[in-house]
């Protein structure tokens, strides 16, 4: 009996020990929970608190329309339209194969495998994955009508920049592109964020800060499906301001038509104020290509085009001015009293400078010519001699007075400054002295000198408006969305120290150029034009550049014009003819 009792006792002891063991294990288990939750809530609490906020608070950007760009009369040059994309929310797709095969019926070119991969790789299952962009409106409607078949698909609308005039103003307006790192650094203070579209060139770039407006934002509390349940705070989007350009769309179209397929520039401006009414730079491009997402092929086509259509030649093209530069030389000569207007030189068709022979453009020469005749007929021999008499220094000084060799200050990004050569520059660059031949070349606007068409515009404007250097500009005024005037351009002008007698002489001579001289092809029945032609021989090309710079009407100029035809293909002087046709059409319409 005692033995039996001891066995039972031992077994109970065993039971007690095991029960305590279980109790100990359970105690440790609960301690583990307490430690783990303590770690989550106390040590990591702030982090998880932040995460819970971050995952349920979402900033939904409210897109704001970019500002419009209008011409001076309110014609639309750039606005916004919607582009539609088809997307799916991965979390909501019950049967991806079925959905994709149905979408494939609508979009035969869709790659089902690629789409499947996209859906699979989605980082956030509640964020829409775009399967197809730039969907035509008809297909959008089709999808919406059959909503039950495509219930897990969503249509997203995104604003897209639209340029109704296509390539008519391509390299003037510029185009939009995703902001790059460098731009981001420069623009980050202005509310531009990675992924935003900004103006890359042209007016879109110059006035980006006005056009972009302010993005709105809405802080919403979202549930796990990304559904917004409650708006925590909201900032309304501010549409961009509207730009009124100085451009006259109708004139722009006329100028473009008259240029045809030629390469070159037409600038028309108000010589009194500097408003640029027309800026044609050819070849051009259609900025809509960029808005819709340019394909690699299209990009290569545009960027490797020999005519460089992205470049605005009127402001960023540098050319020798040719005979149009004779205006500067003549002014320098008269102002510095190196000659009287009546002084004559004899033109036998050539002129020897040292042992170099410089030809006049006219074989056989002009005979005896005075300054006016030399301008009217663009006698090179006269100007070789005049230039040598005036000297490089004064020629360059007057060129500067007319605004050459420095930016005009036109409101366009990265204006080129042209180039005025000097003896010291030549010495430094070529380790060569400045020879009289260089002066002779400079006198007829050849050699090292380079100008931009917009610089020539300010030059001809100064002649037309009685000696004022006016700053050319493209944006007349800026108006915010409520119609308040944000910015109004006031013309900036500055008197050039040139006497009125010299200016009167120039006007008379330029009138003669069209009446009886080299610019006769500009003559028309509608309006009297004054101007100066120029032909620039280009090394390596048989076809010279052809200039016409002028204004009309002659007695009280209201418009000035620059026509530059690059590598003209015609045998004749085509630039004055184009200028004449443009002006006759413009003046006959009024």
């Amino acid at each position: 009996m005692p033995l039996n009792y001891r066995i039972i006792e031992r077994r109970n002891l065993n039971y007690e020990r095991r029960l305590k063991f279980i109790g100990g294990v359970l105690f440790l288990a609960f301690l583990l929970i307490l430690i783990k939750t303590g770690w989550l809530q106390i040590i990591q609490g702030e982090r998880f608190f932040y995460l819970s906020q971050a995952s349920r608070l979402r900033l939904v950007p409210l897109p704001n329309p970019r500002g419009l760009i209008l011409d001076r009369k309110g014609e639309v040059l750039a606005d916004n339209t919607a582009s539609f994309s088809v997307a799916v929310v991965p979390e909501n797709i019950s049967d991806p194969d079925r959905l994709l095969s149905r979408l494939k019926e609508v979009f035969p070119s869709m790659d089902v495998e690629v789409c499947k991969e996209k859906i699979k790789r989605a980082q956030n299952p509640f964020r829409p994955v775009i399967l197809r962009e730039k969907v035509e409106l008809s297909k959008v409607i089709y999808l919406l009508e059959r909503e039950e078949d495509f219930s897990s698909a969503v249509i997203l609308a995104q604003p897209v920049r639209n340029y109704p005039q296509g390539d008519l103003l391509g390299n003037l307006l510029g185009y939009l592109g995703e902001v790059n790192k460098k731009e981001l650094r420069a623009l980050s203070g202005l509310g531009v964020e990675a992924g935003d579209l900004v103006g890359k060139t042209g007016i879109e770039r110059m006035y980006n800060s006005y056009l972009q407006g302010e993005k709105g934002g809405r802080q919403v509390e979202v549930d796990v499906y990304g559904r917004a349940l409650k708006i925590i705070s909201q900032r309304d989007p501010q549409p961009g301001d509207t730009l009124y350009l100085t451009i006259d769309l109708e004139m722009q179209k006329i100028a473009r038509e008259e240029m045809g397929k030629r390469k070159g520039v037409v600038l028309i401006a108000n010589p009194q104020t500097g408003q640029i009414l027309t800026l044609v730079s050819l070849p051009s491009f259609d900025p809509n290509l960029f808005s819709r997402g340019i394909s690699e092929k299209e990009w290569n086509e545009i960027s490797s085009h020999p005519g460089n259509p992205l470049e605005n030649r009127a402001i960023r093209g540098e050319y020798p001015p040719g005979s149009t530069f004779k205006i500067v030389v003549a002014t320098a000569a008269l102002e510095e009293k190196k000659i009287f207007p009546e002084s004559t030189y004899y033109c036998p068709g050539y002129y020897k400078v040292g042992n170099r022979v410089f030809k006049c453009w006219k074989e056989g020469g002009h005979g005896k010519v005075d300054l006016e005749a030399a301008l009217v007929h663009s006698c090179d021999v006269y100007f070789y001699q005049l230039g040598l008499k005036v000297g490089t220094e004064d020629i360059i000084r007057y060129a500067r007075l007319f605004g050459l060799g420095k930016p005009t200050g036109v409101d366009f990004p990265m204006e080129k400054r042209g180039f005025l050569p000097t003896p010291s520059w030549k010495k430094k660059t070529y380790k060569e002295s400045w020879y009289p031949g260089d002066t002779a070349n400079l006198s007829i606007g050849q050699g090292y000198i380079l100008v931009t068409p917009v610089q020539m515009l300010t030059l001809v404007n100064a002649v037309a408006n009685g000696g004022y250097l006016v700053k050319p500009y493209l944006v007349e005024r800026i108006v915010d969305v409520r119609g308040n005037l944000v910015y109004q351009k006031t013309p900036e002008r500055e008197k050039i120290p040139v006497s009125s007698s010299t200016l009167n002489f120039l006007c008379r001579a330029l009138k003669g150029v069209v009446e009886k001289g080299t610019g006769w092809r500009a003559k028309n029945k509608v309006v009297n034009i004054a101007g100066k032609t120029g032909t620039v021989e280009i090394e390596g090309s048989e076809n010279p550049h052809n200039w016409f710079i002028g204004y009309a009407p002659t007695d009280n100029p209201t418009l000035s014009i620059i026509v530059l035809v690059e590598n003209r293909e015609e045998e004749i002087s085509i630039a004055p003819q184009i200028a004449g046709k443009i002006f006759s059409r413009i003046f006959s319409r009024a």
């Binding site: 305590k20 279980i22 929970i33 809530q41 796990v224």
Partner: protein
């Protein structure tokens, strides 16, 4: 010798009722506006549950040993019935639609198994292979009937209940480790029979953050919810992460996460204290009763509470993989609540002081 000082063990009944009421109130605070459906239903079940608790506690203690096989047989019947005609929710057939509510026999199975095993294993001087085999048959019948539903979590709980009661019943350690070894060896085979989502859950646990969208998503969101409660919680009704549905099943499987979010570390500690009180009380009763039916039942039942609470809280805090196991007395769900309150009633009846 023993005198009736008090009818019921208040160290069990008070924390139990507190847990139930807190759970109900918590359910109310995380309900979305104008949707108190779950709260109202839980309130009704709680009334029934408390009724059963008191009803059973008045039963004479001898009844339970006698009823145990009957309850077991009835449970087998229900489990078979649920396979034949049960209604499926979330792809699993676990519920019997009995008019006013969906009854989940697998919850009942836990209690019946404790009753049956306590009967078989109690009062024996030695637990031989015959009793081991018999208890194994009882447990594995439940295991398979529940595993095919499929409800892996509950099936594993059933299995562990068997091991614990066997361990307590005085089986020699040698036999016990032989059993464990056999089971471990057969695990890989068992793994082959798991459903893909169950495999995924286990695999995700091994590498949580690589797949924030699948099973790992739930676990991550749960940890965010708990952690974001910090020490003092977000306040009553402030469980935003829960309310915005970042937590799957915030009323049942993940209720601990929402408690952590709303009540903070203070709340979590109180919750654990309540469980520890019940468990300690149950174990000390089991200690006093010895290896009798009452002792084994008490030990088995409080271990069940502890195991489920541990699994639920451990899953929510990311200690163990995601398995759907309700938090005893707190989680939304009639079957679980009724079974746990009935079990507590039985425990109270067994522990009632004799005159």
């Amino acid at each position: 010798m023993r005198i009736l000082k008090k009818e019921f063990d208040i160290y069990i009944i008070v924390p139990t009722i507190c847990l139930c009421l807190w759970g109900l109130f918590h359910l109310y605070t995380i309900s979305l506006e104008d949707s108190y459906y779950y709260f109202e239903r839980q309130a009704i079940w709680l009334c029934f549950g408390i009724f059963f608790l008191f009803l059973f506690s008045f039963f004479p203690k001898e009844v339970w040993s006698r009823l145990s096989y009957l309850v077991y047989t009835a449970t087998v019947f229900f489990l078979v019935l649920v396979i034949v005609k049960g209604s499926a929710i979330y792809g699993a057939k676990r519920w019997l639609d009995i008019g006013f509510f969906n009854f989940q026999p697998s919850e009942l199975a836990k209690l019946s198994l404790i009753l049956a095993l306590s009967k078989i294993l109690s009062g024996k001087e030695r637990i031989g292979w015959k009793n081991i085999l018999l208890s194994f048959i009882l447990a594995s019948l439940f295991f398979f009937l529940i595993a095919v539903q499929p409800d892996l979590g509950t099936a594993l709980i059933v299995f562990s209940l068997w091991l614990i009661l066997l361990f307590l019943s005085g089986i020699s350690l040698k036999s016990f480790f032989v059993l464990i070894g056999t089971i471990l060896a057969s695990l890989p085979i068992f793994y082959l029979f798991l459903r893909p989502y169950q495999k995924l859950r286990i695999l995700t646990y091994l590498n949580l953050h690589k797949d924030p969208l699948g099973a790992g998503w739930s676990s991550l969101q749960s940890k965010i919810a708990i952690g974001s409660g910090r020490i003092f919680g977000k306040g009553i009704g402030g469980a935003a992460h829960t309310k915005l549905k970042y937590l799957p099943q915030p009323l049942t499987d993940f209720i601990f996460s929402s408690i952590g979010e709303e009540w903070g570390f203070i709340g979590v500690s109180l919750l654990i204290v309540a469980y520890v009180m019940i468990i300690l009380r149950g174990l000390s009763f089991a200690l006093r009763e010895g290896k009798s039916f009452s002792g084994l039942f008490a030990a088995g039942f409080v271990t069940l509470i502890a195991v489920q609470a541990f699994i639920n809280m451990g899953m929510a805090s990311g200690i163990i993989p995601v398995t759907g196991v309700p938090l005893p007395f707190v989680s939304y769900g009639g079957s679980s609540l009724l079974v746990f309150l009935s079990g507590t009633g039985i425990l109270l009846s067994l522990s009632r002081e004799e005159l």
